[in-house]
Subunit: 333 residues, 2 copies
DNA sequence: TTGTAAGCGTTATCAC
DNA sequence: GTGATAACGCTTACAA
């Protein structure tokens, strides 16, 4: 390394190539506007100096950072992985770089991160979930930066949105279980806002159908397999008669399936289990997990497209998209 | 939103507050150098405009971006999660923002990402694994940006390093299994460079101890539970006499454990299984998994400390740290 | 305590 | 096809 060594600037390269800084800039950005001869001299100078242009300077001048920021509540688990990968890929193809920041599931932290992001003047911001704090919404709105909220719906998006309805999921899972003959159901759930919405709709729908519901077993923050085991244990202690459980993530469902197995409870014979997310392991569990599938890849791709359209001055085809969900039926129900 | 609206600048705020831009800058960065009275007027103007300073401009002038970039090979699985979270937390405490980029397990992509990162002139770069391409190493070195390579050792780090020895892990697991009486061992492994190093050392050590080894079952790119199941199936078809398997990740080990169970093979009675990573689910599997633990939190924290020390002009206490590993013994062996 | 001037590295614009 | 100049928004250095 070269600690503290000032990297070469475009001026240095220009001097070495015997041209002006402007010509170096052209050689780098619009090579067709430079004579082949000059181009070669500049390229040689760039090679020799390992010159890499300063994006803060060019971003400042161009007022475009070619950067899109994504806010994730957490990297825990593969929940948002599909979305992030699709987003990264789609943006990369369009010449944008993705920058990821983690907010934790914490509102204060989210506001701070939002500020730090707006400071860098990215060409767009993708947030996971809707922005809840008034402060955060104000900062984003005032910044004029295109925003895509994802992963849920709201009647009042900041700007664009691509998500799905959590209440609809809660209700759909109840309907599915009801159709399969279940009359006493419950949930093992994390406590984040989106999961809570599903819980509420689940309970409401079950009651509307005259089913018996037992109090949801809530798990501590990270949705681990251990939490799923503990959650099911708690539930069974309280409500031994439950015949079907909807877990708020596949990891919890996997834990619940293991706990059931250890207790000699047959799945799905005595207890049906439904997960959420259709993560890679859901299909390979024993038994394979019935789960709610969200097309994360599609969310990521759509978000990227909307973002880029807006960044380049066009209006996105549709600023708000509900991508829906599907129940993938496997052997656990 | 406010598409295309130019956000307010420090000049706008200055005008509104009736002071100079410099005073606004001071009010924001060194409030103690501004009279309480003026401070209040500036704060009011900031509030009214929702002003957020432009980090490209201040970074350009200060030559410090207060930004650290981390390169992850992939977000698949929670392998690097502990490290990223510790890194994020430690940097946040010191006033730096973490920016994450994914390189995929692809060398070309890694070089591109490295360039994109160097362009933003972060105060430091943390890479997962050592940088393998000569191109990437040159770019980083020439940039003068502090670099911490992590997660493995090399005699030729670019700058700083905090990692552990993969060959030592391969050998240690063999020793552990040998001591437990196993004489025929094999691996189910992913094919990334670090895993390959463990495979090589594992095989070599086993042969040195006169143990029988069977060809490693290699799994396709993402280390999923399904890959673990398939890997064990392949291995058993080829080498039914194996009594112990070392899997290159806990996810693979979990899959192997499930596959064994489905086949009626007792774990650990007929087959011992060792995982790698000590991820959250390892302790809660049935049976709980013996695994190799890496202190990802410590890696993240140390990397942040080194980075910040160097960024602030001090020499880090030790530029190269081997944090070692430990074998966590549970019921799967 | 506050303000003025200059400059960080790049590119848009206009001239040659 | 190439170059000089100014400007992007902020902060350092210096002056008042």
């Amino acid at each position: 390394m070269n600690p503290g060594a000032k990297p070469f600037t475009i001026q240095d390269v220009a001097r070495i190539a015997g041209v002006s800084a402007m010509t170096v800039s052209r050689a780098l950005n619009t090579p067709q506007k430079v004579s082949p001869d000059t181009l070669e001299r500049v390229r040689e100078a760039v090679r020799r100096t390992n010159f890499v242009p300063n994006a803060m300077a060019s971003g400042l001048r161009r007022a475009r950072a070619r950067l899109v920021a994504a806010l994730l509540p957490t990297m825990v688990g593969p929940v948002f992985q599909e979305m992030v990968e699709a987003l990264d890929l789609a943006l990369h193809e369009r010449g944008y770089q993705l920058m990821i920041g983690q907010s934790g599931y914490d509102a204060t932290r989210e506001d701070e991160l939002l500020r730090a992001i707006v400071q860098r003047r990215p060409d767009g911001v993708v947030v996971t979930g809707v922005v809840r704090s008034e402060e955060g919404r104000r900062v984003l709105r005032a910044s004029g930066i295109p925003v895509v909220e994802t992963w849920e719906l709201t009647p009042t998006p900041i700007d664009m949105l691509v998500g799905f309805s959590h209440p609809a999921i809660g209700a759909a899972v109840v309907d599915y279980l009801h159709a399969r003959g279940h009359r006493h159901v419950a949930m093992v759930s994390a406590g984040d806002p989106r999961a809570l919405t599903r819980v509420a709709a689940f309970t409401e729908r079950a009651e509307a159908l005259g089913m018996q519901t037992s109090l949801t077993a809530f798990t501590a923050a990270p949705s681990t397999m251990g939490a799923g085991r503990a959650g099911l244990a708690e539930l069974l202690a309280r409500a031994p008669g439950v015949t079907a459980v909807f877990c708020s993530s596949d990891m919890l469902a996997l834990g619940a399936a293991i706990e059931a197995r250890e207790r000699g409870i047959a799945v799905p014979g005595q207890l049906a289990i439904v997960g959420m997310g259709d993560q890679s392991f859901a299909a390979d569990a024993a038994p394979p997990l019935t789960t709610v599938r969200i097309d994360g890849t599609r969310i990521g791709r759509l978000a990227a497209e909307m973002m880029v359209a807006r960044a380049e001055g066009q209006a996105p085809a549709a600023p708000v998209v509900d991508i829906g969900f599907s129940i993938v039926e496997r052997a656990s129900t």
